[in-house]
C-alpha cells in the first residue's frame, strides 16, 4: 500500500515521469539529444516566469501581468539594441522595466488596496499598449552585439548558457523561499496575513516583494527571449501567461500540497513543456495544447481544493 499523503505529495511527479517515459518510447524523435535540449531551453523561459508568478502567489497575490510585462521589457531591450546602445544598458533597462512594473503592482495592492486580480490586469493592459507604442506595431529585428546574443544562444561546452542561468535562478529562488527569513515571511503573509502582521512581520513589504520578484522574473525572461531570438516584438511572451499559471497551479499539487512552491513550479513547468512538445511530435493539432492547458489549470485547482477541504473538515 502506498500511503495517501505520498500520493498527494508525489502523485503528479509520478504522472509526469510516466508521461516522459511514454513519449520516450512512442513519440518519434522525442528522445533525440537535439529535441531534449530544445525542451530544456523552452522550459527555461517558462520556469523563470513561473517562479516569479509563484513568489507572488506565495504571498497570496495573483500577478496576471507577468507575460505582458515580459513583452514590454523585451521591446524596451530591443529598442535600445536597435538604437545601438551598449548591451549592458539595454539589459539593465529591461530588468528595471520588469522590476518597476512589479513594484507598481505592489504599490497598487498594498497602498491603494486594489486587489491584485484587478491591479495586475490593469498593468497587463497598460504594458501591452506601451509595447505596441514603442514598436509602432512591428518587431525589432537586428544583427545585434554577439556578446548580447550569447546570453540567449551561447553554449558552455555542450550546455546552453540559458540553461545554466535558469539553474542558478532556480537554486537561488528555492533557497530564498525555503531557507531564509524573507521566504518564510512571504509564506506567513500569504497563509494568514493578520497573524503575520500581529507577529511583527511587515506584510506590506512581503506582498510588494512577491509582486516585485514576479516583475523582475519577467524582465529576466525578456533578456533571454530577446537574446535568443535576436528580435523583440509586442506580445512575444503572450503565450506564457496561461502556461506559467498552469505550471504554478500544477506545482501546487506537489511536495507541499495546496501551497504554491518553487520546486513544484519547476516540475510543473517541465511537465507542461514536455507535454506540449510531445503533442506536437505525436502529430496533435495545435489547438489540443490549449485544451490541455485549460484542463490542467482547472484540474490542479480542483485537486488542491480537495486537499484544502479535507483539512477544513478535519477540524
Amino acid at each position: 500500500m502506498i500511503p495517501k499523503h505520498a500520493i498527494e505529495k508525489y502523485g503528479t511527479l509520478f504522472a509526469g515521469l510516466v508521461l516522459f517515459a511514454f513519449l520516450m518510447v512512442f513519440a518519434e524523435n522525442f528522445a533525440s539529444t537535439a529535441n531534449l535540449l530544445n525542451v530544456l531551453k523552452q522550459v527555461s523561459f517558462l520556469m523563470v516566469l513561473s517562479i516569479g508568478f509563484t513568489f507572488a502567489l506565495i504571498a497570496s497575490e495573483l500577478d496576471l501581468s507577468f507575460a505582458n510585462v515580459c513583452s514590454l521589457s523585451a521591446v524596451v531591450i530591443g529598442s535600445l539594441m536597435q538604437a545601438a546602445y551598449p548591451w549592458p544598458l539595454a539589459v539593465s533597462a529591461g530588468l528595471a522595466m520588469g522590476l518597476f512594473a512589479g513594484l507598481l503592482n505592489g504599490y497598487l495592492v498594498t497602498y491603494l488596496k486594489v486587489p491584485s486580480l484587478i491591479s495586475t490586469l490593469g498593468t497587463a493592459s497598460v504594458a501591452n499598449g506601451l509595447a505596441f507604442m514603442i514598436t509602432g506595431g512591428v518587431a525589432f529585428v537586428g544583427r545585434w552585439d554577439p556578446d548580447f546574443l550569447f546570453l540567449g544562444r551561447g553554449k558552455i561546452g555542450p550546455v546552453p548558457v540559458i540553461i545554466l542561468f535558469t539553474l542558478a535562478i532556480v537554486a537561488l529562488s528555492f533557497f530564498l523561499s525555503t531557507q531564509t527569513k524573507t521566504g518564510i515571511h512571504l509564506q506567513a503573509t500569504g497563509e494568514n496575513e493578520e497573524a503575520a502582521r500581529r507577529s511583527g512581520i511587515n506584510t506590506r513589504k512581503s506582498k510588494i516583494l512577491g509582486l516585485a520578484l514576479s516583475g523582475l522574473a519577467a524582465g529576466l525572461t525578456a533578456v533571454f527571449l530577446v537574446a535568443n531570438l535576436s528580435s523583440a516584438a509586442p506580445q512575444m511572451a503572450g503565450d506564457f501567461l496561461l502556461n506559467g499559471i498552469a505550471a504554478t497551479l500544477l506545482g501546487m499539487t506537489m511536495f507541499t500540497p495546496a501551497k504554491p512552491n518553487i520546486l513544484g513550479t519547476i516540475v510543473g513547468a517541465l511537465i507542461i513543456v514536455v507535454l506540449s512538445n510531445g503533442l506536437v511530435l505525436l502529430g496533435a493539432q495545435y489547438y489540443i495544447q490549449d485544451i490541455m492547458l485549460g484542463i490542467i489549470i482547472v484540474a490542479s485547482v480542483a485537486v488542491s481544493a480537495s486537499v484544502l477541504k479535507r483539512a477544513a473538515f478535519a477540524l
Binding site: 527569513k181 507577529s199 511583527g200
Partner: protein, 251 residues
C-alpha cells in the same frame, strides 16, 4: 503582589461611538485577571489598545510603573505584552515551529549568509511546548492537524517565545468543546505557575470563575466593578455583568 500593568483613564472613540470612556484597571503581577462584559462593553477595544493595534485617544498604559505608548503590535510585543487572539493567532497550513517562531525566526550564519536555523527552532519549540502540553512532540506537524486546544497551546508558545511577561488571552475557549476548554484552562494555570501575568477576556463565566484571581467588569466603555474572584460563582458574575450592580465591592 505589586501592580504589573495598569490602564489609566483610557478613552477611545470610533466616530460618534464611544467605545472606551475612561477605563482604569490595575493588574497585579503573577495573577490571572479576567475582563468580562457583554457584547459592546469595550473589551475588544481595550485589548486592541493593549496589543498596539489601536491607539487610545486619551489615557495611558503603564507597565512596571513606566508609561508606554504602542503604535504598532511589535512595540507592544517588545514591551513584554503578548496578545493571543481567538481566530487570528495561527497560520493553519504552517508547521508548529513555524508558527511559534513567526516573525522572530532563528537564523544561523552559513558562509556569511543568514539561513533559517530550523533544527534549533524545532528544538526550542519542543521545549516551550513541553511546558504546556506534553502530548505534542513533533514540531513539523501542521497546525491544521491539531485540535482547538492544541492550537491555543501553539499560540501561547509563541507568547513564551517572545519572552512576554504579560499574556493576553482573547476569548481562548470561545470555539472549543468541553475537554479542549479544560486543556486551555490548564494552560492558563501553567502560565500563572511560571510567573506570567495573564489577562483573560472571556464570555464564559465558568471559565473565569475557574481560573481568575480578579475580575473587572466593563459596561458601556467603563470598568464598573472590580472584584476578587474567590467565592464568586458563575451565576453571580453573570448577574453583575447584566445588571452592572454589585451588593458589595470587594476589591
Amino acid at each position: 503582589m505589586p501592580v504589573k500593568i495598569s490602564t489609566r483613564n483610557i478613552y477611545k472613540n470610533y466616530g460618534a461611538v464611544e467605545a472606551l470612556r475612561g477605563v482604569s484597571i490595575d493588574i497585579h503581577e503573577g495573577e490571572v485577571h479576567a475582563i468580562c462584559g457583554d457584547n459592546g462593553a469595550g473589551k475588544s477595544t481595550l485589548i486592541k489598545v493593549l496589543a498596539g493595534v489601536e491607539m487610545p485617544d486619551r489615557g495611558e498604559v503603564v507597565i512596571d510603573g513606566a508609561p508606554c505608548r504602542f503604535t504598532t503590535p511589535t512595540e507592544s510585543l517588545k514591551a513584554g505584552l503578548a496578545t493571543i487572539h481567538q481566530d487570528l493567532a495561527v497560520a493553519a497550513r504552517m508547521s508548529i515551529y513555524e508558527n511559534i517562531f513567526m516573525g522572530a525566526e532563528l537564523t544561523k550564519n552559513v558562509l556569511g549568509i543568514r539561513m533559517l536555523d530550523k533544527k534549533k527552532m524545532r528544538q526550542d519549540a519542543a521545549g516551550y511546548m513541553s511546558q504546556l502540553n506534553k502530548s505534542i512532540t513533533d514540531m513539523n506537524i501542521k497546525v491544521e492537524e491539531l485540535s482547538g486546544g492544541q492550537r491555543q497551546a501553539v499560540a501561547i508558545c509563541r507568547a513564551l517565545r517572545w519572552n512576554a511577561n504579560i499574556v493576553i488571552l482573547d476569548e481562548p475557549t470561545a470555539a472549543l468543546g468541553v475537554r479542549e476548554t479544560e486543556q486551555v484552562l490548564e494552560l492558563v494555570r501553567s502560565l500563572k505557575q511560571s510567573g506570567k501575568t495573564v489577562i483573560l477576556i472571556s464570555h464564559s463565566m465558568k471559565d473565569v470563575v475557574a481560573v481568575a484571581d480578579r475580575v473587572s467588569i466593563l459596561r458601556n466603555g467603563q470598568n464598573q466593578i472590580d472584584l476578587l474572584a474567590a467565592d464568586l460563582s458563575a451565576d453571580r458574575l453573570s448577574h453583575y455583568i447584566l445588571s452592572g450592580e454589585v451588593e458589595q465591592v470587594q476589591a
